[in-house]
């Protein structure tokens, strides 16, 4: 046997995309760092610490993208029952949790000098934390199921219920209390300085690309894990247990 008989469909395409994304991200990350630490003017009132904003907001975008994609792929999985869709849902949830962790870590670092506290019961902090807890639960559920098929089904349900819950959680916590700075115009702020907006767009794009790169790699890893598992199964079947001589 010289070559694997057949590669799963879509492998060549995703391999190429993965390489292209890798090159793009490798170029963009130093550019972002330059933009954040050299090019962008220091914020007038908050000072240097405001620069963490260029990590915080893009991570939040990537985190929410993860949660959204997880719901999308969960729904598609329940419809088509394709293992690849489940791998995508799982990878999206994992990355969502990872990027939300970055959001929850960078937030307090900024809040301490600016608000004077590490953490408050403020609305967006709380809803992000709740979201993080929900999807951390998703990952724990996946580890606790008895077989992958069951894990895929149960997690798809959680992914969908979670997506329905996110807007309700958001509004309930918002009504409960709100004080988060509304910087971007969409959320009612007065908008950013042109230089800052440019840097933010650049960093957000980079983070989204990084997200996609990690997503493809995680899916490939999942596929390899599946392959190892099935090969182990075959090997075990071919070599029945023999009494030692």
């Amino acid at each position: 046997m010289s070559e694997p008989a057949e590669k799963p469909p879509g492998t060549a395409w995703s391999g190429l995309t993965e390489q292209a994304l890798f090159v793009l991200v490798a170029i963009l990350v130093p550019v972002c760092l330059h933009a954040i630490f050299r090019a962008v003017p220091t914020e007038e009132k908050m000072g240097v610490v405001q620069r963490i904003f260029y990590f915080h907001v893009p991570s939040a975008l990537a985190g929410f993208l993860g949660v959204g994609l997880c719901a999308l792929f969960s729904a598609l999985y329940l419809w088509r029952r394709d293992r690849r869709l489940d791998l995508l849902a799982h990878a999206s949830a994992e990355l969502g949790v990872m990027f939300l962790t970055i959001v929850l870590l960078t937030g307090p670092i900024w809040a301490r000098p600016v608000w004077g506290v590490w953490w408050t019961g403020e609305a967006r902090l709380t809803s992000t934390l709740v979201l993080w807890l929900l999807y951390a639960g998703y990952l724990i559920l996946r580890q606790s199921t008895e077989n992958p098929e069951q894990g895929a089904r149960f997690c798809a349900v959680i992914g969908l219920v979670g997506a329905l819950d996110v807007p309700i959680i958001y509004y309930s916590v918002e009504w409960w209390r709100g004080l988060h700075p509304k910087v971007l115009k969409i959320s009612g702020g007065q908008g950013l300085d042109a230089e800052m907006a440019k840097a933010l767009t650049l960093c957000s794009t980079t983070f989204i690309l990084l997200f996609l790169l990690l997503l493809l790699q995680r899916v490939r890893l999942g596929r390899l894990q599946d392959e190892v598992e099935s090969l182990t199964l075959v090997a075990n079947r071919r070599a029945p247990y023999t009494e030692p001589a």
Partner: protein
């Protein structure tokens, strides 16, 4: 057999089991009571107004005992594989789900009915005519909690960490219920007009409808095959 009749039969079965064994509601009640007692020690209610902390304390007690009720509700089906019998029965699986939700709501309501007067006495609160509306808030939020909890419990009981996983998944998902319940109760006890908390009541109602509908559609996937 009509759909509604199937729902009622499942609920009736759970109630019969409970009436004969009388183990669940009593245990839940004592557990909820203990939570109140713990809070009674933790906060000095002679200094703090009941309206400020009371609703939160009450709902922590309801939610904790509710999680126990929900996970128990599926554990009894797992014992001796009773669930197989129900899955083989010629009823829609979502009817089984709705019956379970109905029974859980009744158990939780029983606990709530007994616990509220106890709390009122314990924390020296004075009732007025409007406070009776609290019942509505309790029912709406209990349904929402039981709706999501029952869907999740169907999944978690067949996993390795059943008892641990249910609260882990349910508490974050039920945050809107907890907030709406506490806020509505606070407004009601403080005697505010309906306009002050109508959005919370609406949210609770919307939560109930959305998740009951979602669970009816998804319940098939949540069962072990």
């Amino acid at each position: 057999m009509t759909y509604l009749r199937a729902v009622l039969l499942v609920a009736e079965k759970d109630l019969k089991v409970e009436l004969r064994s009388r183990e669940q509601v009593v245990t839940l009640l004592f557990f909820a009571l203990l939570v109140l007692v713990v809070f009674n020690f933790a906060f000095d209610f002679t200094v703090i107004d009941f309206v400020t902390l009371g609703p939160g304390v009450l709902w922590v007690a309801f939610i904790f005992s509710g999680v126990l009720a929900i996970s128990r509700s599926f554990q009894i089906e797992r014992e001796q594989d009773r669930i197989q019998g129900i899955l083989l029965a010629p009823i829609d699986r979502s009817a089984f789900y709705l019956g379970k939700v109905a029974a859980t709501v009744l158990f939780m309501a029983a606990v709530e009915t007994i616990l509220v007067p106890v709390a009122v006495v314990m924390f020296n609160f004075r009732f007025n005519s409007q406070t009776a509306l609290v019942v509505l808030a309790f029912i709406l939020n209990t349904i929402g909690f039981a709706a999501v909890g029952t869907l999740f419990a169907a999944m978690t009981t067949s996993t390795r960490r059943a008892e641990l996983l249910l609260p882990l998944l349910l508490f974050p998902a039920a945050v809107p219920v907890a907030l709406a319940a506490v806020k509505t109760t606070t407004h009601l006890l403080a005697g505010h007009p309906f306009a002050a908390y109508s959005h919370w009541v609406l949210m609770s109602a919307a939560y109930d409808v959305i998740f009951l509908a979602a669970a009816v559609l998804l319940f098939d996937e949540a069962l072990e095959e």
